[in-house]
Amino acid sequence: MVAAAAREIRDGERVFVGMRLPLLGFAVAKELHAPNAVGLFENGVIRDWPALQSIFTMSDPPNVARSLYCGGLLDVMGLMQSGRVELGFIGGAEVDRFGNLNTHWVEEKGKRVRLPGSGGAADIATLAGRCIIIMNHEKRRFVPRVHFVTSPGYGEGGNWRDQSGLTGGGPSRVITSMGIFTFDPATKEMLLSSYHPGVTVEQIQRETGWPLRLSDAVGETPAPTADEIAAVRKYDPKGVWTS
């Protein structure tokens, strides 16, 4: 998943990184193919190289020291609103087939479970040039329709984003623990474009709450290269995020 996230980052892009896997993906991409990528954090930090030590939050001192810029939340969000952030990573408790994400509340055994809320996710989903959704692939998370739209993907599909006046491009990929999805250019439905080595389409269907649609070019996700594995190990030597 980290390698897949890293591959989405193009050189020179400004990336709303977030934490955990995408943060590691950013470090790997910087190391390998995107040396000029810049990472933005909603706490006001902008970095052009990975944090000095492994971190639990974007505001931990190793992510702040030797950063390119330290300012405020509105600084960084303003850059995104003005179209200067090409890519953002987001996740959620639920995703539906149009890439809408929910981090507000879900139902378990008929009872509402309250989740933390948007944070910066709705901002990234509406404003970033494109978004990558990263999710653990479980049936309860891949639902036909999210209970609550925290971070809009393609809404009800088709040209819903344009109609709703959203300026960001919307989700371009969904990277899950089982495979990678793209979106149908017209209907904006999720299309399985690759399954990770050792995973079958049938297994993915079992963990997906709607009838899977496959991309024409569906195939196996390329395994991480030796370089990618080495870079991941460099930035996550203890396997905290990638065990």
Partner: protein, 303 residues
């Protein structure tokens, strides 16, 4: 004017039941946890808490029964996951029901900035199409020039902002650095500001680098010297993040009884911040002190 006082005085003088209080404005750092514990000890009630995210501070104050309403973008435990007290309050009304004014990080920043600028709202392109943007504190707004539709975010004007900073003089002029989150906006949005700081410095130190005086004394009501006042959150140059404290809190607050034990051990059962640090232990506090030689170079203000 010398505004220096004890933490207990700062909270009792500035915060009354029913007030709205902005906190956690640096996001995951500079969270004024020590001030939050004092709010809990003084049994403040019916507070509205305003914070983009709060790491575990909102959860603590909610669990202690001090909050009636939350104005926030995210309530959880950044490294460990869900906020158990927040869940109990929202799902079961324990210890009391809670109202939430839902925001994204960007919209809560704009809401504070609107108040800071003396405006009733600010426009934005964010959060459109999100279900929470249908709430009353958001309204559609048409640009009078381009006719495009935007979202208006209603101003949020806290009664008090509690801010932890690196250094301040006794008048409340404060130098801060590192990531700022919505600290500056909150300082200007709020009717009153309570500063907790790592160091009290001479006014001369403030004047020696005016570009760092991001909070001006005329905005500040009380200044309190609270080294490690952001613990377990970090303060760049003064305190590392105490990761274990968050993980332990997450485990212990999983049920109500566990949280009550936690609260007794770390808040109600200690008199003040000094005693809290003693309970943390010398060794642990020592380990949280930053080391290295990452110092900023000097710049010239010569004439």
């Amino acid at each position: 004017m010398n505004k220096l006082c004890s933490l207990s005085q700062a909270i009792s003088r500035n915060i009354e039941d029913g007030m709205s209080v902005a906190t956690g404005c640096g996001l995951e750092s500079l969270i004024p946890f020590a001030a939050g514990y004092e709010i809990i000890r003084q049994k403040k009630r019916d507070l509205t808490l305003i914070a983009p995210i709060s790491d575990i501070q909102l959860d603590q104050i909610i669990g202690a029964g001090c909050a009636r309403k939350i104005v926030a973008a995210w309530v959880g435990n950044v490294a460990a996951g869900l906020a158990h007290n927040f869940r109990r309050a929202m799902e079961d009304g324990i210890p009391r029901p809670l109202e939430v004014e839902e925001h994204s990080n960007f919209t809560i920043g704009l809401a504070l900035q609107a108040a800071a600028m003396g405006l009733p709202f600010l426009p934005t392109k964010t959060a459109r199409g999100s279900d929470f943007s249908r709430a009353d504190h958001f309204q559609p707004l048409r640009c009078p020039f381009t006719k495009e539709e935007l979202l208006a975010v209603r101003a949020v004007k806290p009664d008090v902002a509690i801010l932890h900073v690196q250094r301040a003089d006794v008048e409340g002029n404060a130098h801060l650095w590192g990531n700022l989150g919505v600290t500056v906006e909150a300082a200007r949005a709020a009717r009153k500001v309570v500063l907790t700081c790592e160091e009290i410095v001479d006014h001369e130190v403030i004047l020696s680098d005016p570009n760092r005086t991001l909070i001006q004394g005329f905005l500040v009501s009380s200044v309190v010297h609270v080294p490690f006042g952001s613990h377990p959150s970090p303060t760049q140059g003064f305190a590392r993040r105490d990761d274990d404290f968050y993980f332990d809190y997450h485990k212990e607050s999983r049920n109500r009884e566990g949280f009550e034990r936690w609260l007794e051990r770390w808040v109600l059962g200690v008199k003040d911040h000094q005693e809290f640090l003693k309970r943390l232990g010398e060794e642990r506090v020592r380990r949280l002190k930053p080391e290295g030689n990452l110092f900023s170079p000097s710049v010239s203000f010569n004439l």
